[in-house]
């Protein structure tokens, strides 16, 4: 589930009264139309199996040799077989046999597998090891040979076939229960229960069984499918139900023998098997889905607070068209301002919610990145800075789009460019590096291959030349033994080395702009500094601009010329870095600064104080950025702002420019934004 969807799910739970786990699951299940239909069908089938024979007009065993191989007619709705028996009648009998047989087989599987698995998992030790080995051995055998071998011992008959299938299928229940018991055994509360003198039986009933009920139901439906199919198969080859008794498999065997005379005989029993197995499968899917959704809601509810968009950009990757942007609303910006390499104006980004409707996760964001400079986009996670960065590359995914505004790179409008044109810019004029270098590299290809790929794509190099250049690049970003390392896979790299490789990939085509999204957050403290030094060094050499996205004001102080502070999808303050950090005018900026250890704004943050909270959550501003659907009216910061008044709850702060600074706070000027955080 994408985070966008969990966000909406969380909203739901807030809205409704808490339900018990069962009621919630039940409701989720009822929404599953196919599963409900399947359950209805199975109920009808059970009735047919129990009462059907009483309603039959024709005795299913009555032989009428004058009327063999009849096609369906008004009298015999499904025709007759080689002995002139009514196919419909035989089908009803067969249904009854199949249902009884399936119940027997599944019952044996559960009775045999579940308790043994439970004991094995709960008590562990030697018995567990022997049990697991046996199960592994049975699973390694060709699936049908297990019941066949058991039938060889017991002799072919329906009951024996069901015993055989039950034994063969018990391994699934064994594994399921063993897993559940093992899990519960590890839990502390069971230890507590044991210490407090609860007996083992009590523990099992109180703690293990409730956890495993859901998966057990799902496994049971699967077992029904399996047993039904296998029973049909065994009866078809003559090892299950023995004629003249009827079963779907036996009827298919008859059909097979007389396929020349009356091919229609094959149709009814086959359809019955198909519908019944389908119904059990759909029922199982429905239950599984209901359980996971009911569980998912609980989890989502306890973890709110992410801008849906931030996850969605990562989640959806299939197509990345920047959907039709309405450029009309943008503030008039003259033809390309020469000194700004990248110019973002009035940017608004919207994401589709899981149930339709759109949500603006970023609105009215404007900033410039001058050539050769570094601009920091700052804020807590969930404030929209990563989405803004992704939108520059047109990588918002399927559910996001740029709804308004303009993004110009060296005068060229990027909003609304076709995918092919954007592909010529991505990786060529704009390089990008990400927070998690390890997962950002493809584990299936060598690092050298992945760097060379960009060069082949954009620089028109041949494979050999690209590979050679990849080695040079790795060397250039300070990876020792670059030639050997190029042939290594990402998992053989450390985090810091992987980020260096990512940088090599991003700068391979000498981009004019490098977007670095939290480039050091996931790295070890000692490595962070080296990576930042590398970035500054590269910038000095090739004069590229850097858009640095970070929550770390220390990094901003160290790297950036300008800072753009974002909160809840808006820019709240922007200006030259020294000004913003030494003299914050917006309470949010001041709050961020205050939450850095020993760095109140009187003394400018020392070069790289590396004590920040690596999770990206700052500790001293109470609360966290709410998710986009929960943004309050008025100033979005007001629930967390120590200066908030009634005005802030109503008036939306407008961006006000004053001596190279831009601040969006209705009380700007009348408050000292720093003092409030000292209290």
């Amino acid at each position: 589930m994408s985070r966008a969807a969990t966000g909406v799910a969380a909203e739901d739970t807030n809205a409704q009264a808490p339900l018990t786990g069962f009621a919630r699951t039940w409701r989720a299940f009822l929404q599953h139309r196919l599963a409900v239909i399947a359950a209805g069908y199975l109920l009808v089938l059970a009735c047919v199996a129990i009462f059907g024979q009483a309603l039959l007009v024709h005795d299913p065993l009555a032989v009428d040799l004058a009327r063999t191989f009849e096609a369906p007619s008004a009298e015999h709705w499904l025709g007759t077989d080689h002995l002139g028996r009514s196919t419909l009648g035989r089908l009803v009998v067969a249904t009854s046999v199949a249902m009884q047989a399936a119940c027997l087989g599944v019952g044996i599987a559960i009775v045999l597998g579940a308790p043994l698995g439970l004991l094995s998992g709960y008590f562990g030790g030697w018995w567990d090891r022997i049990g697991m080995r046996l199960v592994e051995a049975i699973v390694a055998l060709p699936a049908l040979l297990v019941p066949i071998a058991i039938l060889a011992i017991l002799g072919p008959s329906l009951t024996n076939a069901m015993i055989a299938l039950g034994i063969a299928n018990s391994t699934a229940f064994f594994r399921l229960m063993r897993g559940a018991a093992l899990e519960v055994r590890e839990e502390l509360y069971v230890d507590a229960a044991r210490v407090s003198g609860s007996g083992n039986v009590r523990i099992v009933f109180r703690h293990v069984l409730p956890n495993v009920t859901g998966p057990l139901i799902v496994q049971t439906t699967l077992a029904f499918s399996y047993v039904l199919l296998a029973e049909a198969g065994l009866s078809f080859i003559g090892l299950g139900v023995q004629p003249p008794e009827s079963s779907w498999g036996v009827m298919l065997a008859t059909a097979q023998r007389y396929v020349q005379q009356q091919p229609f005989l094959a149709v009814p029993p086959g359809l019955m098997i198909m519908f019944t197995v389908l119904a059990f499968n759909l029922l199982g899917d429905g239950v599984r889905d209901a359980l996971s959704r009911a569980g998912g809601v609980v989890r989502a509810a306890s973890n709110p607070g992410r801008v849906p968009g931030a996850g969605a950009t990562r989640a959806s990757a299939a197509a990345g068209s920047v959907a039709t942007a309405t450029v009309g609303e943008q503030p008039a910006s003259g033809p390309s301002v020469p000194q700004a390499l990248l110019s973002v104006t009035g940017l608004e980004i919207r994401f589709r919610g899981a149930r339709g409707g759109e949500l603006a996760v970023v609105s009215d964001v404007s900033f410039d990145v001058p050539a050769g400079r570094t601009i920091g986009l700052v804020g807590e996670s969930g404030c929209g800075k990563s989405v803004t960065a992704m939108s520059i590359l047109g990588l918002l995914g399927d559910s996001g789009r740029i709804a308004a505004g303009s993004i110009r790179l060296a005068g060229q409008e990027l909003v609304g460019l076709p995918e092919s044109a954007l592909n010529g810019i991505r990786g060529a004029s704009i390089g990008m590096i990400f927070q998690e270098p390890m997962t950002s590299l493809n584990p299936a290809y060598t690092v050298g291959n992945q760097i060379a790929e960009v060069l082949v794509r954009h620089a028109g190099l041949g494979r050999a030349a690209a590979a050679a250049r990849a080695v040079e690049l790795l060397d250039h970003v300070g990876i020792p033994g670059a030639r050997q390392r190029a042939a290594c896979y990402p998992h053989e790299f450390s985090g810091g080395m992987a980020q260096r490789a990512m940088i090599a990939m991003a700068i391979a085509c000498e981009p004019k702009l490098l977007i670095a999204d939290e480039p050091t957050t996931a790295l070890d403290v000692t490595i962070q500094e080296q990576v930042l030094d590398l970035l500054s060094g590269l910038q000095e050499q090739n004069g590229m601009s850097i858009l640095l996205i970070t929550h770390d004001l220390g990094v901003v102080a160290d790297m950036c010329d300008e800072a753009v502070v974002m909160y809840a999808g808006n820019v709240v303050e922007q200006g030259r870095v020294d000004d913003v950090l030494l003299d914050p005018r917006h309470p949010y900026t001041a709050g961020l600064l205050a939450s850095m250890p020993q760095n109140l704004p009187q003394n400018r943050p020392q070069s790289r104080p590396r004590h920040h909270d690596r999770s990206g959550r700052l500790t001293q501003i109470p609360g966290r950025v709410p998710p986009a659907w929960a943004w309050p009216a008025g100033c979005r910061f007001h629930p967390r702002c120590p200066y908030a008044t009634e005005v802030c709850r109503q008036a939306v702060p407008q961006m006000v420019a004053a001596d190279d600074r831009r601040i969006a706070c209705v009380r700007a000027g009348e408050i000292d934004p720093v003092a409030g955080w000292r209290a």
Partner: protein
């Protein structure tokens, strides 16, 4: 890589030992006296005794098992109860039919299931996805021998495009061999492709959400390159692990589907042997069938190492 293969094969030894004990134990679980079944009721006590000695029934279980295992390791899985046919010869003679169906079915399953799954995964939630997943859901509910019958009726009986019964060895004629197994392979393959398509789709959707796909897109790679280079190889990792299960299911399916087309393979052999409780023959089928599955699993592991460099290294 070589180390990986060797360690996998060595790791199989305990598993195969357990299977062999279980299989050998079958003989002793059969109710009643085996000798009665072989000799009939009219035999003299002397004949009984002689047969008992011949079968080693007078020895303790472990000695019997040891002898049996020793012979099995040399390729001798015993003799049929009812004629002097060697079990190994009988099973190996029947195996080509069954293996043709199993692997032919696997090819069909891959040819249908993988593209369908990739396509559905790329168009998640779209029309293609919904149609493909609907068909997969229905496909998983179809007994493969029923599909076989439904294919047999038009293609072999009405239009007689392929023979309705009988197996031609590939040594005789490749074309006739293909014609003799074609429908069976399609029946087995379509049935197995349903599960394969679902797995491939799931793997594809999962991979497309990973960070490295975002990187590939930020690099400006074409959609083709992202799908077929970056996504597919990673999506193959979970799919390959399930191929072992698939071959297992296909082998089981082949035993039944053989019957539809009158192909005398392992299925016919084992069915006949179960009916007559010809235990050595059933044991032979179980042992050789397990060997087939286990070898496939080793091959799968090798393929897994190929797509997943992490495994290869360790």
């Amino acid at each position: 890589m070589l180390r990986l293969i060797v360690s996998r094969i060595v790791g199989l030894v305990p598993l195969l030992l357990i299977v062999s004990i279980l299989t050998f134990g079958m003989l002793h679980l059969v109710p009643g006296d085996v000798r009665e079944r072989i000799l009939g009721f009219e035999a003299t006590p002397e004949q009984y005794e002689a047969l008992g000695r011949q079968l080693g029934l007078d020895q303790p279980f472990l000695v019997q098992y040891g002898r049996w295992l020793g012979r099995a390791l040399q390729g001798d899985l015993g003799t049929s109860y009812f004629n002097s046919q060697k079990v190994t010869d009988a099973v190996l003679g029947a195996l080509p039919v069954t293996l043709s169906l199993t692997f032919g079915g696997m090819l069909v399953a891959l040819a249908i299931g993988v593209p369908a799954g990739v396509w559905a995964g790329l168009n998640r939630g779209g029309r293609v996805d919904r149609i493909a997943m609907f068909m997969a859901t229905v496909g998983q509910a179809l007994p493969n021998f029923w599909i076989a019958m439904l294919l047999l009726i038009p293609f072999a009986i009405w239009w007689q495009l392929v023979p309705a019964t009988g197996f031609t060895s590939p040594a005789e004629s490749i074309g006739d061999w293909l014609r003799s197994i074609l429908l069976a392979c399609i029946a087995l393959g379509t049935s197995a492709s349903a599960a394969l398509a679902r797995q491939t789709r799931g793997a594809m959707i999962d991979v497309l959400q990973r960070d490295f796909i975002r990187t590939a897109r930020a690099k400006g790679l074409s959609r083709t390159s992202i799908t077929y280079k970056h996504a597919l190889k990673n999506a193959a990792v979970p799919v390959i692990t399930t191929i072992g299960f698939q071959v297992n299911a296909l082998l089981s399916g082949a035993l039944i589907v053989e019957q539809v087309f009158g192909l005398r393979g392992v299925g016919s052999l084992v069915i006949e042997s179960v009916r007559t409780q010809n235990i050595p023959m059933v044991q032979g089928v179980v042992i050789l069938g397990t060997l087939v599955i286990v070898s496939v699993n080793v091959l799968v592991d090798i393929a897994y190492g190929w797509v997943n460099p992490r495994v290869r290294a360790s």
